[in-house]
Structure formats: structure tokens, C-alpha cells
């Protein structure tokens, strides 16, 4: 977590793309079907378009304070105390995000493949990975991201292509059966995952200033590609299952994988696809965990130098406890995510960033006014 360690624009784009590509297709299609029914595809496209606009905005916001993380520029923009207060709220948000991702990975493997294994085993291993990842630093996680996002996107595209014959056009019809309100409502579940690109405000500080221009471009287009691929996947799920079926599924994408056939040789390949997704999840969790530690250090007014191992261990133990007591199984996790977290996360991912942008413009306006007055 040394801010002096730099990451390349491609690596930032890789990390953001991983964050975006790992979540929305896991639980969201089921609840989207509840609201949008046959019109999930419209919701998906709407959320992808909205997410793209928001990504451009997030990149603009992060670019206003190069070399500063979100927590650092909050204090610059809003003053020390208000900045710290909002920073603490963001710490809570990042911890929640970390816990959700840890639980999502742990419960997915437990539910799908290892039902008899205690959840704590998975969580402990994931937290161990996080602690080691934090010790290695954000730059190492960034270096890992390029290969992992490539593998994940290829797997998703392969899945989309491989299950295309299972898609029935009748599952998309009739068009506009749901009300616009419900379609928009359904799109929020996708949008909540996509707008996590606000994490870019934590990562831009690690980019070399002379490469910031490329970083902006890479993040925007990398995210765009990811929005398109993941939306296509959700649309494919919509096409492969009827809305009534879809509502009943816990892991719709895994059910989609069961429709994938690789000739007559591999009959059930879900463990391979889920493993690729799991590998990506490990990296995302490592990044979120490291971001949490960076936030804590910045809130404590320390910058530079990496966090101590003892501190990482303590934080890891806290994440472990939160995972075990807060959302101890798949049902509770999906319920929490789809009923509370979607709306709450939009406050942190869209609401507060929009206000920050406004504050930024006001502050800039004041400064230019003061300059004119001085002149």
C-alpha cells in the first residue's frame, strides 16, 4: 500500500473491469426477472448505458485530484472534519463491499460444490489471501489483473457463444410487457454492480501523473467492454430461461453454464467456469481489502509506507467475523444484496460522488472568481 508504488493505466483498467465483471450476473438476473419479466434485456441495456455515463463521470472526478485517493481529496474538498466523516462512511461502504464479495465467493463454492465444508474454511482462506495481497501492495494486484480479466472475459464470451443455441426468442417476448417504472427498477440491480467503478477514485492515485490521460481512456473503454459483455450474459440468461424459471434460480449464470456442452467430451463444465470466476473474485477481494487498509491509514492521517502486518491481520480478523455473523449463508447474502445493498450502494456510488462533483465545480468557480477579483 505504498503510494510511491505505481501501476500502469492498463492495470487500473484491469482492476476496475474485474470489479465490474464479477458481480452483476451472479444474483441480479433472478430479481430483475421479478420486476422486468421478459424485458430484462431492456433493463440490462439501460443499466449499461447509464453505467457508461457514470464511468465517464467517475473518471472525471478522480482526475480532478491526481495523486490523491478518494479519502484524501474528501478532506481537500470539504474540509478536514466533514471530509473525515464522509471518509468514515466510505470506509463502512468498502468494508461492506469486501464482506459481500468474500461471502459471495465462499457461499458460491460451498453451495455449488462443497456443501459439507464449513463456511469458515473458505472465509479463512480468502482472508489469508487478502492479507498476503495487502502485504504485496496494490501494484502487485494491478499487475495480476491484466491476465485475470483477460481469462474472465474470454470465459464469459465462450459461455455466451456456447449457450447461444439454448436461447429462445420467445423468452424476450412480448416486448414492453412491464411498466417503465419496473424496467428502471430492475435496471438498478445491474447498475449497483456497474457503478462500483467509483473505486477508480481510490486507484487513480497509484497511476503515474504523465500516464493519467491513458488511464482515463483505458478505464472508460475497458469498463465499456465489460458492461457490454456482462450485459450480454444477463440477456443470454434472460433468453435461456423464462422469467418464471429465472425468478426461482439462486445462481442463474451457473444454471446457464449447465447448458454449455463442449462436444461430447465435457458434459458438465460449471466447475471450470466457476473456478475462473473464483480466481477473478480472489483478486477483486484482495483489491477491496487493500483499499480498506489504505482508507484507514488515510483517515488516521498516515500516507506512504505500507501498513504493518499486525494491522492487516487485525483487519482480516474483523472481516472474518463480519462474514461469519453478518451474512452467514447464500439466502441471507442474496436477500441483503438485493433488498438493501442495491439502494444503499447507489448512495455511495452515485449520490455522494455527484455531490462531490458539484462541490468540486463550486470550489473551482470560487477559485476562479477569487483570481479574477485579485486581478
Amino acid at each position: 500500500m505504498d503510494l510511491s508504488e505505481k501501476i500502469t493505466p492498463l492495470q487500473v483498467a484491469g482492476l476496475i473491469a474485474l470489479l465490474v465483471a464479477t458481480q452483476n450476473h451472479v444474483f441480479a438476473p433472478a430479481i430483475m426477472a421479478r420486476f422486468a419479466h421478459e424485458d430484462i434485456w431492456i433493463s440490462s441495456l439501460l443499466s449499461a448505458a447509464g453505467a457508461f455515463l457514470f464511468c465517464v463521470y467517475a473518471v472525471w472526478l478522480a482526475g480532478q485530484f491526481p495523486n490523491l485517493t478518494l479519502i484524501q481529496f474528501l478532506s481537500v474538498l470539504l474540509g478536514r472534519w466533514i471530509g473525515k466523516a464522509i471518509g468514515i462512511l466510505y470506509l463502512g461502504y468498502f468494508i461492506c463491499l469486501t464482506v459481500i464479495y468474500v461471502q459471495m465467493l465462499a457461499t458460491s463454492f460451498k453451495t455449488l460444490f462443497l456443501p459439507m465444508t464449513p463456511l469458515i474454511v473458505f472465509v479463512v482462506l480468502i482472508v489469508l489471501f487478502c492479507i498476503y495481497g495487502a502485504a504485496q501492495g496494490m501494484s502487485v494486484l494491478g499487475k495480476m489483473s491484466t491476465l485475470v480479466i483477460l481469462a474472465l472475459l474470454l470465459a464469459m464470451l465462450l459461455l455466451i457463444a456456447g449457450t447461444l443455441p439454448s436461447v429462445e426468442m420467445s423468452n424476450f417476448l412480448p416486448i414492453r410487457q412491464s411498466t417503465w417504472f419496473n424496467i428502471f427498477h430492475a435496471s438498478l440491480f445491474n447498475l449497483a454492480s456497474f457503478t462500483q467503478s467509483i473505486v477508480v477514485t481510490m486507484l487513480f492515485a497509484f497511476v503515474q501523473p504523465d500516464k493519467m490521460k491513458y488511464a482515463k481512456k483505458y478505464v472508460i473503454w475497458g469498463s465499456m467492454l465489460t458492461f457490454v459483455v456482462t450485459s450480454l450474459l444477463v440477456i443470454e440468461v434472460n433468453g435461456a430461461f423464462s422469467p418464471n424459471q429465472l425468478e426461482m434460480l439462486t445462481f442463474p449464470t451457473v444454471e446457464l453454464i449447465t447448458l454449455f456442452n463442449f462436444g461430447t467430451f465435457f458434459e458438465r463444465v460449471e466447475s471450470i467456469f466457476v473456478s475462473v470466476w473464483g480466481a477473478a473474485m480472489f483478486l477483486v477481494i484482495g483489491m477491496l481489502f487493500t483499499s480498506c487498509l489504505i482508507i484507514i491509514r488515510h483517515l488516521l492521517g498516515r500516507s506512504g509506507r505500507s501498513a504493518s502486518k499486525r494491522f492487516s491481520l487485525l483487519f482480516g480478523a474483523a472481516v472474518l467475523l463480519l462474514c461469519l455473523y453478518y451474512v452467514p449463508n447464500t439466502q441471507k447474502l442474496s436477500y441483503f444484496m438485493l433488498h438493501y445493498w442495491t439502494y444503499l450502494s447507489l448512495v455511495f456510488q452515485v449520490g455522494i460522488p455527484l455531490l462531490l462533483g458539484l462541490a468540486c465545480l463550486v470550489a473551482r468557480g470560487r477559485m476562479s472568481h477569487a483570481d479574477n477579483t485579485d486581478a
Binding site: 473458505f122 499487475k143 495480476m144 458438465r268 466447475s271 473456478s275
Partner: protein, 516 residues
């Protein structure tokens, strides 16, 4: 008497030899006595030859076990009387010695500690009555074996010569291949007892000065009593001590070292060891063989891909078998699943125990094969593998599939050109097996990501270990897993070379037709 400046080269020998240094007495007897009392008590191979024939009495001192008697008898003794019989002193005497005695390296000192040090280096010391100087003659006896092909790194179409234990011979082999004044080397002496000579070699203006400075700093800071091997030094200078992966590689092949030096790396030669260290390295480089450049670009790339695949099989195959047979049999084709079930019908153990048993037995056989004499060793390996494998299957201890899995894994592990990497991967394989046996694919994914994180975080003298994959460098991929044609390989590595914009040759490389 003309003054002579002391010629000890500014080295602090007092830290390496006790007691502390002192001036050389002008009387021969006193000087010899001081040397014996101070440094060589109870050292019976120290010979002293007094000469009272000439006008100036003198004493010739040497350790006869490390002095070449032919040089002594042929080049020194016949001319010594003639050289010292005049009443010259100081600089005149030194000049006279150099004029009369046909030995290339003649030196002088006023420091008794330096005298003792040079005696241990195989030099002959001359004390002359009335002189506060000691004169040193290089007569070192060099024992060395012939230059031959390294047994652990055989070459199919590359150079057959390997380094031997003599530092000077190793340097000569390098000099013969790099005939440039830009080829630099810096000498160190490490080990207060062993006084082992160590040389860092590199090509100036090609290698990265920051890397060279860093490795010089690391070697300069090594303080120990005895340096016996290059691996011992490696553990002191590599970036991370608790890793299974070699961060500075070893080789006995001269062509590998020359290639590495030309790419901007450095080599560290340790006297008394045939394995030469080289760095900075990256992970994929350890899968290269110098012969890759002796085949067509397609063949070279194919061999590298083959080794990479073999490495993946070495790590993953046993653990995948365990995970598939224990947790995810649904992934396999139905008939293969039936076949595995039928094979395992009589086996009383879970597949993880089966794999650990077989892999453990194989490791034992491999270790036994190395320790036994060559002829018996290979017999033991073959007989052990065949007899034990078949008997274990017949006895129902293991399944036939397991024999196939372990055999393929073993064959693949032998394709890895770097022995240290091979050992590391063998150990990691066991961790993968254990986690796959307890957590299935989740265990494998966890291990894989942990390994990837570990490898990405590693550095070899500051250079990222997983470059050009992580961080990704497109141009450097040309000579990593792939092997582009030689005319395309005209750029240096970003991390190794001083100036990455400097080209090895113009681009595009002229074709034979252009040259006409």
C-alpha cells in the same frame, strides 16, 4: 635508500587475519620469527629457505602445498642469487628483481599482515637483510579439472563447454566469447577463513547501472567466515529468502551466461564452484534452453510452449486428478468416470492418500537414484518405478490411473531446464494436492491465485519476476514464451538494459538480398 610506496592495494587484511598487522623488521631472522609467531604457529607446511651465500642474507618463505614447485625451481631460485647479490636497496632492488626474475607478478609490501595473506594465496615471500620490505612472487599452484560438458545441463546442439571450479578458467571462457573492452569484472574476497574470490561480470553500456550497483552493494555487504559455494552466496544476496523459486539462477553452461550478459544481465563467479550465478532473471526465462536459438523460430517456440505446458502439468495434474475424482466427477466424460471408478474399486484409500503415497515414493526413488553410484542409481530408479508401481497396482494399494498420472507428472518435471525451479515446483505440487484433496477446485483456485500473487510480488535484483507477463511488456514477449526470428530480436529488456531505446542492430534488419 630509495623509498618504495607500499603496494597492498588498500585492502583491509587485518580484518581477515589475526593478530593485527605490524611493520616488517629489517633483520631476516626477526622478520621470519615474527611471521611464524604472529600467523603461522603449528603450520608445518610453511617452508623457510635461508640464503647466506650472496652478499645480502635473505629468506625465502612459502607454503609448499599451494606453491607450484616447477615455477619455484625453474623461474625463481636460479635467478635469485644473481638478483640480490648487489648491494641495491629499495626501489633499485625491486627493479632489479623484476629485471632478473622471469615471473610475471612480482610485488612488495611493508605490511606483515599482507605478507601472511599473500602466503595463503600461494605466493613466495622474500625477506632481505636490511630491508623493511618483503618481496612477493606469484607461484600459485592451480589444481583444476578439464573443461567438459556439464553433466546436469546437457546440450543437444549448443556449446559443449562448461565452467569448472577455477575462477580464472571461468573468466577465460567468458573472455574468449566476449572480446570487448566493455566486458567488465569486479573482484571481491569473501570469507575471513576461506578468502574465496568472487567476481561480478557484466557488459558496460548494455547492463543497467542501477542493477549492477545494487548487486555490488549486496555482495559488498556479505560478511561471513567461509564461502564455500555459489549457492551459499546466493542466499545472502537474493531479494527474498523464504521463497521456493530461484531469484538468481545458477548454471554451468558458458553459452547461457554469455547470452545473459549480452542481454544486459550480470554473472557472479565464485572460485571453487562450477555453478555460476546469473541475474536478474524472470520466471519464463527459467524455461528457456540456449538451444532454443539453434532451431527454427517455430521449433524454438514449440519447445518453449512444450516446457511451459509440462510445467503446468507438473503442478496441476495430480491435484486435478484428486479434485476431479473426489469432488467433481461430473466434469469428466461418463465413460472415463466409470473407468476411474472401476480402477479404484479395490483401492482402500481416498485418492489424496493414493496420490501422496505414489508421489512420496517417487520422490524417494528419485533421491535414492541421485545418491547411489551412477550405474546402480539408474537401475534402482527404473526397477523401483516399474516393480513398485506394478506391485502396488496388483496389491490394490493404488489404481492403474494413478501410475499413469504420477509417471506423466514425473516425465514433465524432467523437462524443466532449471533444476532449482524443478525442485520448487515439486514441493508446490504437494501443497496443491493437499488443498485439492480437502477443498476440490476451490483449493486449486486458492493455491493458484496465491502462487500467482507470490510470483507477481517477487523480484530478482529489483526486476519483476513475472515480467513480461505481469507487468505486461508486449515487445519482450518476443523472446519469452515465444521465440521470434533473430532479426526481430533487436531490442533490450526494459528492466535489464541501460538504454531500452538502444537497438542491438538496425530495424528492420537487412535481408540477405538487401545486403547485395
Amino acid at each position: 635508500m630509495d623509498n618504495l610506496t607500499d603496494n597492498t592495494g588498500g585492502t583491509d587484511y587485518t580484518s581477515q587475519l589475526e593478530p593485527v598487522s605490524s611493520a616488517i623488521p629489517v633483520h631476516v631472522q626477526a622478520a621470519v620469527q615474527q611471521l611464524k609467531d604472529g600467523y603461522f604457529q603449528r603450520v608445518d607446511d610453511l617452508y623457510v629457505r635461508y640464503n647466506n651465500v650472496s652478499s645480502a642474507p635473505s629468506a625465502l618463505i612459502y607454503i609448499h602445498t599451494i606453491v607450484d614447485p616447477s615455477i619455484l625451481e625453474r623461474d625463481l631460485l636460479p635467478y635469485l642469487n644473481q638478483a640480490v647479490e648487489h648491494s641495491d636497496a629499495g626501489k633499485k632492488l625491486f627493479d632489479r628483481l623484476k629485471q632478473y626474475i622471469p615471473i610475471g607478478q612480482i610485488d612488495h609490501t611493508t605490511d606483515m599482515a599482507y605478507v601472511a595473506y599473500m602466503l595463503l594465496q600461494g605466493q613466495v615471500v622474500l625477506f632481505i637483510e636490511g630491508e623493511a620490505n618483503a618481496y612477493l612472487f606469484q607461484t600459485k599452484l592451480i589444481y583444476q579439472r578439464a573443461i567438459d560438458e556439464p553433466s546436469t545441463e546437457p546440450s543437444t546442439s549448443g556449446a559443449k563447454e562448461g565452467f569448472n571450479e577455477s575462477l580464472d578458467t571461468s573468466m577465460a571462457l567468458l573472455r574468449q566469447r566476449i572480446r570487448s573492452p566493455l566486458f567488465k569484472n569486479k573482484k571481491y574476497t569473501i570469507g575471513s577463513l576461506t578468502q574465496t574470490r568472487v567476481v561480478i561480470a557484466y557488459i558496460e553500456s548494455v547492463s543497467n547501472p542501477a542493477v549492477i550497483k545494487e548487486i555490488e552493494r549486496r555482495i559488498g555487504s556479505v560478511e561471513l567466515d567461509a564461502l564455500q559455494s555459489s549457492h551459499q552466496l546466493l542466499e545472502f544476496i537474493q531479494d527474498q529468502r523464504y521463497t521456493l523459486f530461484p531469484l538468481i539462477a545458477k548454471t554451468e553452461r558458458t553459452d547461457r551466461i554469455v547470452q545473459h550478459l549480452l542481454n544486459g544481465g550480470f554473472a557472479i563467479i565464485v572460485d571453487g564452484t562450477s555453478s555460476t550465478l546469473y541475474g536478474p532473471i524472470n520466471f519464463l526465462e527459467l524455461l528457456h534452453a540456449p538451444e532454443d536459438h539453434n532451431f527454427s523460430t517455430w521449433a524454438g517456440t514449440f519447445f518453449r510452449m512444450l516446457r511451459f505446458t509440462a510445467m503446468l502439468i507438473t503442478i496441476f495434474m495430480p491435484s486435478l486428478y484428486v479434485a476431479l475424482s473426489s469432488f467433481h466427477p461430473d466434469l469428466l466424460p461418463t465413460f472415463l468416470t466409470y473407468s476411474i471408478i472401476a480402477g479404484r474399486e479395490r483401492v482402500p484409500f481416498p485418492s489424496i492418500v493414493e496420490v501422496l503415497l505414489m508421489e512420496g515414493t517417487f520422490e524417494l526413488l528419485r533421491e535414492a537414484g541421485i545418491r547411489l553410484p551412477k550405474i546402480v542409481g539408474s537401475t534402482i530408479s527404473i526397477v523401483g518405478a516399474l516393480v513398485i508401481g506394478e506391485s502396488a497396482v496388483n496389491a490394490g494399494i493404488i489404481s492403474p490411473q494413478m501410475v499413469i498420472i504420477v509417471s506423466i507428472t514425473a516425465i514433465c518435471s524432467f523437462t524443466i531446464p532449471n533444476y532449482s525451479l524443478g525442485v520448487g515446483l515439486r514441493l508446490i505440487r504437494f501443497i496443491f494436492i493437499m488443498l485439492a484433496g480437502t477443498l476440490g477446485f476451490f483449493g486449486i483456485v486458492f493455491c493458484m491465485m496465491f502462487l500467482y500473487l507470490h510470483l507477481t510480488g517477487l523480484r530478482s535484483v529489483g526486476v519483476p519476476y513475472l515480467t513480461p507477463v505481469a507487468p505486461f511488456r508486449r515487445k519482450e514477449m518476443r523472446d519469452s514464451l515465444l521465440r521470434y526470428p533473430a532479426p526481430k530480436l533487436n531490442t533490450y529488456s526494459e528492466f535489464l538494459a541501460e538504454d531500452v531505446n538502444r537497438l542491438r542492430f538496425p530495424e528492420p534488419a537487412p535481408t540477405p538480398n538487401d545486403r547485395k
